[in-house]
Point group: C2
Chain length 248, copies 2
Amino acid sequence: MEDDEWEPPKILLAVDLVILTLRETRLQVLLVKRGIEPYLGAYALPGGFLFDEHEDIEAAARRELSEEAGLADVHLEELGVYGEPGRDPRGRVVSVAYLAIAPSLPEPIAGTDAADACWMSVEDLLSGRVGLAFDHHRIIGDGIERARVKLEHTALATAFCGETFTISDLQQVYEAVWGVRLDPRNFYRKVKGARGFIIPVGSLQRPENGRPARLFKAGPVRVLHPPMARSTSVPPEAQVTREGGVRS
Amino acid sequence: MEDDEWEPPKILLAVDLVILTLRETRLQVLLVKRGIEPYLGAYALPGGFLFDEHEDIEAAARRELSEEAGLADVHLEELGVYGEPGRDPRGRVVSVAYLAIAPSLPEPIAGTDAADACWMSVEDLLSGRVGLAFDHHRIIGDGIERARVKLEHTALATAFCGETFTISDLQQVYEAVWGVRLDPRNFYRKVKGARGFIIPVGSLQRPENGRPARLFKAGPVRVLHPPMARSTSVPPEAQVTREGGVRS
DNA sequence: CGAATAGTGTCTTTAAGACATTATTTC
DNA sequence: GAAATAATGTCTTAAAGACACTATTCG
């Protein structure tokens, strides 16, 4: 413990961002094509090193969020640390991963530096066919799992929506993130039963056809009571691949 | 992004351990008295810097667990990153905090280096009177909150128990970590209803007085179905100080 | 026997899941 | 009117909370 000669090692600290959004009813994650070695040309998560010794880590994450995705004021939370020796050929690089949730944006990216960035469907990514730089595949998997779990117990789903949204919008978030189909009627009842989850604003949204839907905004509550149970009394394994009843 | 002159900064990486255990029906955390500056003489979490450039971060946590607490084979999970600039006067130090859960040990510590270590009651710590080094007070708070949440949905509670335990033992874990009193009969039913949580071993434990209790060991399941709900349909604020019905 | 702890059962309320029905829009 | 989507209601089952009761040990 006490030591005279020994010096602790210094390492490089990076941030990586798992930015999730909903586009055309599918859960998508933002990837950028790397312009430098290592993994030049491969797709990777947006991110980078701390700018200097004094930059706060979350501040660095927000800086990258702005620089690489043109995003501000989105939900951002720490996901974990990825620091396995050898994960980066340049040396010992420890990366702090963040999970960001953004409302659906019209165009692929607004305000990106230049290098091509794209949204990629989570289904395609998790199927294993797409190769990513570093350990980013695992980081994305952890990010999605985090989002899935937090959707159950917190109001995170509203972070996928704009300022106001309909209950159908909210249902699409749950269906896309969980990868299941939900009964609209039971969903409706549950969402409205979770106190403080959503609060109605006066206005309506007129769809192309069908009855106009009431608009809501996010409520003040972070923890849901009762929770939006993904499945009670059924083991989670049976839930993931439960796509039997999906038509169309 | 692309850059020729700029060099990313190098920082010091540390690990800190929130080691929780149950001692005499109270939740306690391990603290060590610092033998070096800064905060010389103050209590702090066990931990330290990475040994060298090639040490894995979780391996460093396990090394400190062994060196400073004499513990091995305990539950260990990443808690988060604490890297605010200025948290350590020696320079930019980023600490990866880990949460460890240990079964109750007979003596304060077995196999500690030398510096005085002690178990401190979480109640005393959270009441705010005890000052700790660095931002360790916040780290402990986050660790306890993590344990509270995970007790609901996972089999983490068994990590507080030895190889075998009675249902009363398990109940004491929940009561200590959550800071509430539970009805033994409902607890019994819920624990046994959570499939794969605990499995009976043949034998009994004879207490000083009263009927002998069946012994169980931890089951294979990590996620509980149904969960051990801390409170359904009641906001969590109202739950913390709900000690009205407690008689001796 | 009484004291103490272990274990089971029962009743009420809440919430989940399945599914029928009504309401309001466009064409 | 039909088609489409929004919103509400009803029934059954599972699980939570409160609490009475039985079981097995010690002295």
